[in-house]
């Protein structure tokens, strides 16, 4: 009787184990292709974000160059006005 009970218990445990293992192995798993897609998308996004930061830094550098050149142009224009006036005055003095 005892031997029989033990066998039944063993069988039940074995069945539970088999069913449990079957259930867990039947869950959804990404295929190799899907894994590759996710990894490639992630890598491409990270690369693109890095590129975007580099472009932003380049644009900011250009912006500061533009600001400097604007100031330089204003200075050159002021210099031109000053030189125009001074040279004209010199030559008007010569003609007198």
């Amino acid at each position: 009787m005892n031997e029989r009970t033990f066998s039944i218990k063993l069988l039940v445990i074995s069945l539970f184990l088999i069913i449990g293992l079957s259930l867990t192995s039947c869950g959804w798993k990404p295929s190799e292709e899907e894994i590759q897609t996710l990894e490639e998308t992630r890598s491409a996004a990270l690369d693109a974000e890095k590129t975007q930061q580099e472009k932003k830094a380049e644009a900011n550098d250009l912006q500061s160059q533009v600001d400097r050149k604007k100031a330089e142009l204003e200075k050159a224009k002021a210099e031109k006005a000053k030189v125009d006036a001074a040279v004209t005055e010199r030559h008007s003095g010569d003609s007198e």
Partner: protein, 279 residues
């Protein structure tokens, strides 16, 4: 030994956690999680690509603006040089000449006072070179103007240095008068300073209008600690009020008493006159 093991384990643990952050455990991932992750990265990729496109457009626009500004600046300078009757190369050559002149003046300035005094003619030639450069229209360009002012200042310094070597006395020649002696560039280069010669040689000059050949006059270059060189607009009261004199305008009489021999009228003192300060 235990510390080494612990450190090794910590390094392994750190590397494992970094690896865990950067990769997925696909075995435990559900379909929903996979799709959510994929969507998240697709959105980040799209956002970044849009950002790149925006930055590219901004870069192109800024580059265009920068090119236009550079062209405007170049054109403005071309106009400036044209107004001066030359071009960029002409200005560069002019600037080079000024640079050479500055070096020559600097060399002169590095000489001793005696050497400069002996080379006053060369210093005058440098001044003439500078004056000739000033005639060029390019001299009104700010950068050149600044350089010219700098050279002029160096020449002035050299002249001042050379004056320090001028003999401290002067022997009167036929035709000299105090006004003429004071105006001599080697003396004071200022005719109005005749009174300084007069007041410093009061023992020899009884009448400032009457000096004689071969008289030797002291030419003071500095003012002593108990002397005051009168400046334009000053009077005895004002001088007495200076903190380094008496600090009280009411003590003007003390100054007058000490200088009675050279001050005829207490209300009449002259610029360049040297007043003795009685202590």
């Amino acid at each position: 030994m235990n510390i080494v093991k612990i450190t090794f384990l910590m390094v392994i643990f750190s590397m494992a956690s970094v690896f865990a952050q950067n990769s997925y455990n696909y075995e435990e991932m559900t379909e929903e999680q996979y799709l959510a992750e994929l969507q998240k990265w697709q959105e980040r990729l799209a956002t970044a690509e849009q950002g790149i496109a925006d930055e590219d457009a901004r870069i192109a626009s800024l580059q265009q603006e920068l090119d236009a500004l550079n062209a405007d600046i170049d054109q403005t300078w071309t106009d400036i040089y044209a107004k001066c009757g030359t071009d960029g190369d002409g200005n560069q050559a002019y600037n080079g000449e000024l640079g050479q002149l500055r070096n020559d003046v600097n060399s002169m300035l590095s000489l001793s006072a005696e050497d400069i005094y002996g080379k006053m003619a060369e210093l005058d030639a440098l001044q003439a070179r500078l004056d000739a450069q000033k005639e060029n229209d390019l001299s009104v360009v700010s950068a050149n103007e600044q350089l010219i002012n700098q050279i002029q200042s160096l020449i002035d310094q050299a002249q001042e240095k050379g004056k320090g070597a001028v003999p401290p006395s002067y022997t009167v020649m036929r035709g000299d008068y105090l006004w003429k002696i004071a105006a001599n560039p080697d003396i004071y280069n200022d005719a109005f300073a005749w009174i300084r010669i007069y007041s410093s040689n009061a023992d020899q000059i009884k009448n400032p209008d009457l000096i004689f050949p071969d008289q030797t006059f002291l030419i003071p270059r500095v003012v002593g600690p108990n002397e005051h060189l009168v400046q334009k607009g000053e009077n005895l009261s004002m001088i007495a009020g200076y903190s380094n004199i008496y600090g009280s305008t009411f003590q003007w009489n003390k100054l007058y008493e000490a200088n009675k021999s050279s001050i005829a009228d207490q209300n009449m003192i002259y610029p360049h006159q040297v007043i003795k300060i009685a202590r």
